[in-house]
Point group: C2
Chain length 333, copies 2
Amino acid sequence: MQALPTYDDVAAAARRIEGHAHRTPVLRSRTADALLGAELFFKCENLQRSGAFKFRGAYNALARFDAGQRRAGVVAFSSGNHAQAIALAARLQGIPAAIVMPHDAPAAKVAATRGYGAEIIVYDRYTEDREVIAVHLARERGMTLVPPYDHADVIAGQGTATQELIEEVGPLDDLFVCLGGGGLTSGAALAARALAPGCRVHGVEPEAGNDAQQSLARGEIVHIATPQTIADGAQTQHLGALTFAIIRRDVADIVTASDDQLVEAMRFFAERMKIVVEPTGCLAFAGARHAGIDLVGRRVGIIVSGGNIDLARYAALLAAEPAAKRASLESPL
Amino acid sequence: MQALPTYDDVAAAARRIEGHAHRTPVLRSRTADALLGAELFFKCENLQRSGAFKFRGAYNALARFDAGQRRAGVVAFSSGNHAQAIALAARLQGIPAAIVMPHDAPAAKVAATRGYGAEIIVYDRYTEDREVIAVHLARERGMTLVPPYDHADVIAGQGTATQELIEEVGPLDDLFVCLGGGGLTSGAALAARALAPGCRVHGVEPEAGNDAQQSLARGEIVHIATPQTIADGAQTQHLGALTFAIIRRDVADIVTASDDQLVEAMRFFAERMKIVVEPTGCLAFAGARHAGIDLVGRRVGIIVSGGNIDLARYAALLAAEPAAKRASLESPL
């Protein structure tokens, strides 16, 4: 296993991405405050370049390439935000990029990734293993593989979102973070431990796939089948070695949110806060609202992780009024 | 006619609203920049308290009430953003508020306004005149009427959005502003003239109701029938005496945008910038994109005026792919 990244790596990443990544805004909502009886600070990574926090880690990882690595290029496998983040960061740094994507990836995502100038390598998700293809490609062409979460530079880059949040609003009592493979959560934990030592960091994963919760309970990385959830960015089957080690050490707990709770949060974000948030990006707020953690009177950070969702799908989710509905939304502040 | 407000009034309003109104973020989009060949700065008043710039003018107007006015309270007539802005500003300042709303106003808007603690006075929009009712109510109860746009304190308050924008990003070459009754546009013009003297201010109104464009051409306030447009915040029938005088003096031109162009902009905001913008709030960007004004190489401000839209309606507009579609959106940066 690589050495665990530290807060110093987060601080170094912050210097590397400065002027390249957006310093995203922190939004407030009196309605949300009133719902939870707390002071909430929403760090809006849906407003980040490429539409998600992933750009931070991708840019940081590529910025650490040496001259040979830069010439040979980068490989990534992902059908989601990591692919677009690597493609964009590579283009900005003049590094060739090859992205391994499933043959049935949404046309809009393929087009966006290609639009960033990346080469698309298509595979059949039912008969081939993308990791094998990516590793093979990396060897064959001498390219460097940047995995989506279990990588020190990626984790350090993701931690900069929390660093910026705490720099802007001051110490927090609680921080809720969307959790898939654990890159964002472990980066957040590194930053929070250094900048707001008393802060409890809560990872929030989909109810349908609570592998991180199980992993903490068992003290080892638990593998699960691909979870069925609308949070497509958190359909990971297991934590990584690095993310598990950091999360076990620095995170207070892992809680879960159901798909209905994610839709409720998505509608809240649109209706009350006027921001578009993808299902995965709704995990943190849904967890803060429903996981039964007492937040009354506390200062609470919420990392809104991304906003990349097909418009037709987004429209359909907004239109479908969830069961647990309006009542709670009718006392605006 | 009252004396015209000046930039000094905008600066004074900025001091009054500080700490009460949000200093809203300015967002960038490389995709939008590439589409127009310009540097665009989006001032996001959809992220303002009560969901629209209207809070600025409302708060400023109420902050100038004397003790007697504060006790007697405020009256406003509006089925839209001005109503909610007055209701919220009044509550924050401990002033009683009565809002005159049509009997068939959307339940969500009535609930939101009542939620802010305002008294709702219902009228029949087919048989009664809301202005007459409001004036009568003001006289009867000794309350002060704050009209939605033709009022010096309201105009000065709206100007603070442009002041903040220019303070944050520096001088602009062009500024596009959504135009209904002209409160936002005339406030913007006052601020731009003082802070960025070379800046061309463009008002953008719905194609279906170009009364301001006609008014400038004729040199007098033109009245039109209520225009049929999805930009419900710009369904005004005429400019006010104050807004007309300022716009005539300080605005470079008035252009228009069609409903299809507004939907296209709304989808762009959701898909590319991850923000929820109501149809009226899309006017400025749609005008910048389609009105034929050469913006290449220029620094352009876009005032995104608000984000209040019924979710079901928003979902329907996002889902309905407009005729002029995807091609232009498929080269993300």
